[in-house]
C-alpha cells in the first residue's frame, strides 16, 4: 500500500468509525454529532446505511452486523408514526429532520425535510442494492427498503406547485423557502422523478434548473454554488461522470467536471483571501456547510469579529469568518485527486489539531489561536462530514457506491426522467 493509499485508508476507517460509535443498535438511528444529547439526523442515517456496505467490503464490519444495523433502521422507519403530528416521526413517507435517538419522535420542532429524506432514501436504496443475498434477513431488508422508497409522496412535496418545497411543519404547513439555484437538490430530484408510485408532476426538474447560474468567476466557467458540499453530496451516490442533462449538454460539460471547477474556484478564493484570514492559500481551503466559532462561545477570545457558528460557508460571497472544513478537500478527492491530496497533506501538516482522535472535526479556524498555540477546532464530530468523507474516498478508490447505484433502477429512471443521457447511462 502506497503512502497515499495508507493515508486514505486510515482516514476512511476513522470516518467510518463514527457510525459505529453514534448508532443506536436498537433502532438503527444515528446521532447527528458526538456531542452530548445530540438527536438523530435522518440524513446521517442515510450516510450510515451507505457506508455499512463499504465497511463490509473493507473487512471493518461483519456482513451480518451491517445487515442487522440496516434492518433495525429500516424496520424502525417502516413502523414509525407517520401521522404527521407534532411528535410523530414522519408524514407522507417523509421524515422530520431530527428525531429522538431512542423514541424516534420529532425533536427541536424540526421540519419534515425533503432533502434530508432524500439523503436517507439514497442510503436506503444503497442498502437495497448491496444486500442482494437470498437470505431471510437480506430479503426482508430489500423488501422494506423498497416499501420505504415507494411510500415517499414526492408529488405531495410540490405543494401543488412546480418545484419541490424545502419542508413542511405540522404547525404551519409548507415552508416558503424553495430550491433556488444549483444545489445538492439534484439527488432529491433524481430520486423524486424515479419513483414508480408518487413521482413529481410536470416539468419539475426543468422548473428547478431554470434557476441555475452558469458563471465565469476568477476566469473559470462553472455552475455556480457557493458552499463546497453542494458540489459533493449528490456525487456520493450518483456517478455523474460523463452523463449530461439538458443544461450540461448546452454547456458542454457535466456535473463531475463542474465539481472540479468548483474546487478550482475555492482555491482561487483562498489564494486571494479577500478577508485576510489566517492560513488561507491554494493548499488550505474548504468553505462549506460546517460548524464554526460564534461570539457566544466561551473559547472565542476575539469578540469583535463577526463569527457565524454553524453556517453554509461559501465562495466568493461568504459567509466567511476564517473557518475551514478540513474534510472538504477530501470530499472532493474523486474530482481532482492530486490537488485534493496535496491540500490534505498540507493542512494536516499545519493544523494537526483539526483531526482529534484521527477523525476530522467539523471545522477549524486558523485565525483563532488559543493559549496552547493551537487553533480553534469544532468540538466532537459530525455525522454528515464522516459520511461524505467515507463515501468519496471509497468512490475514489474503488467506485464502490457509484457502481452499486448505477444498477439501481429507480436512480436510472430518475436520471432519465430528468433528461440525463450519455456515458454509462
Amino acid at each position: 500500500m502506497g503512502a497515499d493509499e495508507e493515508l486514505l485508508n486510515e482516514i476512511e476507517r476513522a470516518a467510518f468509525g463514527y457510525f459505529r460509535q453514534a448508532v443506536n443498535p436498537a433502532n438503527g438511528l444515528v446521532a447527528d454529532t458526538t456531542r452530548d444529547g445530540s438527536p438523530c439526523s435522518i440524513a446521517v442515517v442515510g450516510f450510515a446505511l451507505s457506508v455499512y456496505p463499504v465497511a463490509v467490503e473493507r473487512g471493518w464490519m461483519p456482513r451480518i452486523e451491517a445487515t442487522e444495523l440496516t434492518l433495525a433502521a429500516l424496520r424502525f422507519f417502516r413502523d414509525s408514526d407517520q401521522s404527521g403530528s407534532s411528535m410523530a416521526t414522519g408524514y407522507k413517507g417523509f421524515y422530520y429532520h431530527f428525531l429522538d435517538m431512542h423514541s424516534g419522535a420529532r425533536v427541536w420542532r424540526s421540519e419534515l425535510s425533503m432533502i434530508d429524506t432524500a439523503l436517507l432514501m439514497a442510503g436506503v436504496l444503497t442498502a437495497r442494492e448491496y444486500f442482494s443475498e437470498h437470505t431471510a434477513l437480506e430479503s426482508e431488508l430489500r423488501q422494506i427498503a423498497d416499501e420505504l422508497y415507494r411510500r415517499v409522496d414526492w408529488h405531495w412535496s410540490q405543494n401543488a406547485g412546480t418545484t419541490i418545497t424545502q419542508g413542511w411543519k405540522p404547525e404551519s404547513g409548507f415552508l416558503r423557502y424553495g430550491w433556488e439555484g444549483y444545489s445538492e437538490g439534484i439527488l432529491l430530484y433524481v430520486l423524486a422523478m424515479g419513483s414508480p408510485t408518487h413521482p413529481l408532476a410536470g416539468d419539475a426538474y426543468d422548473a428547478w434548473t431554470v434557476t441555475y447560474q452558469w458563471e465565469n468567476l476568477y476566469g473559470i466557467d462553472f455552475l455556480y454554488a457557493g458552499p463546497l458540499f453542494i458540489h459533493q453530496f449528490s456525487h456520493a451516490w450518483v456517478d455523474l461522470r460523463g452523463i449530461q442533462d439538458p443544461f450540461m449538454r448546452d454547456k458542454r460539460s457535466d456535473y463531475f467536471e463542474n465539481s472540479l471547477r468548483a474546487l478550482q474556484v475555492q482555491r482561487e478564493y483562498a489564494r486571494r483571501n479577500p478577508g485576510g484570514f489566517a492560513g488561507y492559500d491554494e493548499n488550505c481551503w474548504g468553505l462549506t456547510a460546517c460548524d464554526g466559532p460564534s461570539t457566544d462561545a466561551p473559547d472565542v477570545i476575539d469578540k469583535r469579529r463577526r463569527l457565524f457558528g454553524y453556517s453554509a460557508r461559501g465562495v466568493p460571497y461568504g459567509p466567511d469568518d476564517g473557518t475551514l472544513a478540513g474534510w472538504a478537500p477530501l470530499a472532493s478527492l474523486p474530482f481532482a485527486p492530486d490537488i485534493a491530496l496535496a491540500s490534505v497533506r498540507e493542512m494536516h501538516r499545519r493544523y494537526p489539531e483539526m483531526r482529534p482522535d484521527q477523525r476530522y472535526a467539523s471545522s477549524f479556524n486558523p485565525g483563532l489561536v488559543g493559549a496552547d498555540g493551537k487553533c480553534w477546532v469544532s468540538a466532537g464530530h459530525y455525522g454528515l462530514d464522516q459520511g461524505i468523507v467515507t463515501m468519496m474516498i471509497e468512490n475514489h478508490r474503488t467506485e464502490f457506491t457509484w457502481r452499486l447505484m448505477r444498477s439501481c433502477s429507480y436512480v436510472v429512471a430518475g436520471l432519465r426522467g430528468a433528461g440525463f443521457s450519455g456515458g454509462w447511462l
Binding site: G181, T211, Y212, W214, N216, L217, K251, R272, R306
Partner: protein
C-alpha cells in the same frame, strides 16, 4: 412651529421650508384663466408631469399643469431627494464608526445631531425645488393650476371651479404608500415616506415593516443614526426581485450594521402600551414580541386613481395596477395618456421621466414610441447599492435563452480594495456563445453610477467584448466592468485557439 397651510404641514419658522413651499405651493397663488383649449393638460406635477409639461411647452404646445398638493411630487418632497440626503449623512456616521478600518483614529464621541441632519435635508429639498417652482414653470410657458382635477368628459376636466378643455391629456398622479393590513397598526400610528422626514427626534427603537427598497434603505439609515432597528420581511430574502447573491449580501451588510433581521416573518398585530408599540411577529410557528417606539412601513406603493372621475373620461383603471395603458401609454380614451407611477409597474423616478417623454411624442407628434422599448435600470440605495438592468438569469432562461454570466467580485478590483469597499460584485449576463448583453446586476458602493455603462451598452447594442477595449480610468470601481469584458474576450479568444 408646525403650521398647516392648505393642508400641507410645514415648519413656518424654517427658512428652507418657507422657500420650498414658496416654490412648490405658493400660498398666494391664483390659478390662471384657462385657455380656450389646451394642446396638453397634465394632471399631476410629480416627475412625469413636470417633464411632460416642460417638454411640451418648450415645443410651443399650449400646456396646463394641475397639482393638488406640491409641485415635485413624491421625488422632491417625500421620496428620492430627502431619502438620499438622509442616507448620505448615515453613511458618514457609519464611516466615522469604521474609522479604524481606514487607518484613521476613532473619534471618541460620535453623537448623532439629528436636528442638524434634518436641517440639511430641508436645505437640499429647498434648493432642488427652485428648478421646478411654480414661477419657473410659468416662465417656461406652462399654465399652473393648484386644485383637485375631475374629468367631466372625454376632453374636459375641472379644477378649482374652472373647466379646462384639451386635445390631449396625461394622467400622472403618482402613487402613495400602501398601508399593510395589520390589526392595530393604524391605531398605533406609523411612519411612511410621507411623514418620516417630518420627525423631529429619533426614536430609540424602530421597527421597519417590509424589506423592499424603501424599507431596506430606511432601516439601514436609521440604524446608522444609532436607532435600534429591527426589519421584518415577509419573504425569505430582502428585495425578492433581485438576485439571491445580491439579497444575501444585503443581509450581511445589515448584520454588520447591527440591524436585527427577521426574514420570512409576518407582523400579526400591533398594540400600544403607553408610549411603546408592542408588535407580535410570527415565523412559521415561532412567535415573538418586539417593543419599539416607532414603526415605519415600506411595503409598496399604490397608484393614485381615486377622485379623478376617470369614468367620465372613459379611462379604465383599477386600484392595484392603476390606470390601464397600452404600450404607447394610451388609455382607453385615445385623447388621454398616462405616465409615471400611476400606470407603471416600475415605479421609479427615471422611468416616470422616460414615460413622460414618450407621452409627449406620441400625444403631440403622433409618434409610436413604445414603453416596452425602454431599457430600465434601477437601484436600491443601500450600502452597498444594488443596481440592475435588463434580464435576470432566471427570466432569460425561462425564455429559453442560454445565459452565461461574467462575474467580477469587488474584492478583485483595486480601487474597491483601496476604498475598503469590497463587498459586492459586477455580474454581466450575456447570451451564451455571444457577447450580447442581456442584463446585469451590480452590488457595490456606487452601483447606481456604474450600471449606466451597462445600460448604455445595451441601448446602443454594444457587445460586452467591445467594452474590453474601452479605457476605464485606473483605479476606479467601474473598472470591474472592464474586467468582466476582458473575461468575456478571453473566453472567445481561448475558444478560437
Amino acid at each position: 412651529m408646525l403650521q398647516r397651510s392648505d393642508n400641507f404641514e410645514t415648519d413656518a419658522t424654517d427658512v428652507d421650508e418657507r422657500e420650498r413651499m414658496h416654490n412648490v405651493r405658493p400660498s398666494d397663488w391664483r390659478n390662471p384663466q384657462p385657455a380656450q383649449r389646451y394642446d396638453l393638460v397634465v394632471v399631476g406635477a410629480g416627475t412625469a408631469g413636470l417633464v411632460a409639461a416642460r417638454t411640451a411647452a418648450a415645443l410651443d404646445a399650449k400646456v396646463a399643469l394641475i397639482e393638488r398638493a406640491l409641485l415635485g411630487g413624491t421625488c422632491l418632497n417625500i421620496g428620492c431627494v430627502p431619502s438620499k440626503a438622509l442616507i448620505r449623512t448615515s453613511r458618514l456616521y457609519a464611516e466615522m464608526r469604521d474609522a479604524r478600518q481606514y487607518g484613521a483614529s476613532f473619534p471618541n464621541d460620535i453623537r448623532v445631531d439629528f436636528p442638524a441632519l434634518m436641517q440639511r435635508v430641508r436645505g437640499i429639498r429647498a434648493r432642488i425645488s427652485r428648478a421646478d417652482s411654480a414661477h419657473a414653470l410659468v416662465a417656461a410657458g406652462v399654465d399652473v393650476f393648484f386644485g383637485e382635477a375631475h374629468f367631466i368628459d372625454d376632453d374636459a376636466l375641472t379644477v378649482d371651479g374652472a373647466t379646462l378643455r384639451f386635445k390631449k391629456a396625461m394622467i400622472a398622479t403618482g402613487a402613495r404608500p400602501d398601508m399593510p393590513a395589520i390589526p392595530g397598526l393604524a391605531a398605533a400610528g406609523y411612519l411612511t415616506n410621507e411623514n418620516a422626514f417630518d420627525i423631529t427626534q429619533l426614536p430609540r427603537r424602530l421597527l421597519v415593516i417590509g424589506g423592499g427598497p424603501l424599507g431596506c434603505e430606511m432601516a439601514q439609515a436609521f440604524c446608522r443614526f444609532g436607532v435600534k432597528t429591527t426589519i421584518v420581511q415577509h419573504w425569505p430574502l430582502f428585495l425578492p426581485r433581485e438576485e439571491r447573491d445580491a439579497a444575501q449580501l444585503l443581509s450581511d451588510a445589515f448584520a454588520r450594521d447591527g440591524i436585527e433581521i427577521r426574514l420570512d416573518t409576518n407582523v400579526e398585530q400591533v398594540r400600544v402600551d403607553g408610549a411603546e408599540k408592542i408588535v407580535d411577529i410570527v415565523r412559521d410557528d415561532y412567535r415573538n414580541t418586539i417593543t419599539v417606539d416607532a414603526i415605519l412601513t415600506g411595503t409598496g406603493r399604490v397608484p393614485n386613481v381615486d377622485g379623478l372621475n376617470l369614468e367620465a373620461a372613459g379611462v379604465a383603471y383599477d386600484r392595484d395596477r392603476g390606470v390601464h395603458v397600452d404600450d404607447f401609454l394610451r388609455t382607453g380614451n385615445p385623447r388621454i395618456y398616462a405616465a409615471g407611477d400611476v400606470c407603471l409597474e416600475h415605479k421609479f423616478n427615471d422611468t416616470a421621466e422616460a414615460s413622460a417623454r414618450i407621452v409627449v411624442q406620441n400625444a403631440l407628434f403622433r409618434h409610436r414610441r413604445r414603453l416596452s422599448a425602454l431599457t430600465i435600470p434601477w437601484c436600491t440605495y443601500t450600502d452597498p447599492e444594488i443596481a440592475h438592468v435588463g434580464l435576470y438569469v432566471r427570466q432569460a432562461r425561462e425564455r429559453r435563452i442560454s445565459v452565461k454570466t461574467f462575474t467580477i467580485p469587488m474584492h478583485d478590483v483595486d480601487r474597491a480594495i483601496a476604498d475598503d469597499e469590497e463587498m459586492g460584485f459586477v455580474k454581466i449576463h450575456v447570451k451564451e456563445r455571444t457577447d450580447q448583453i442581456l442584463g446585469s446586476t451590480i452590488v457595490a458602493r456606487h452601483a447606481g453610477e456604474m450600471i449606466s455603462e451597462i445600460t448604455l451598452a445595451m441601448v446602443a447594442g454594444i457587445g460586452l467584448r467591445r467594452l474590453a477595449g474601452v479605457i476605464h480610468p485606473y483605479p476606479t470601481q467601474a473598472d470591474a466592468i472592464r474586467k468582466a469584458a476582458d473575461a468575456c474576450d478571453r473566453t472567445f479568444l481561448s475558444a478560437k485557439s
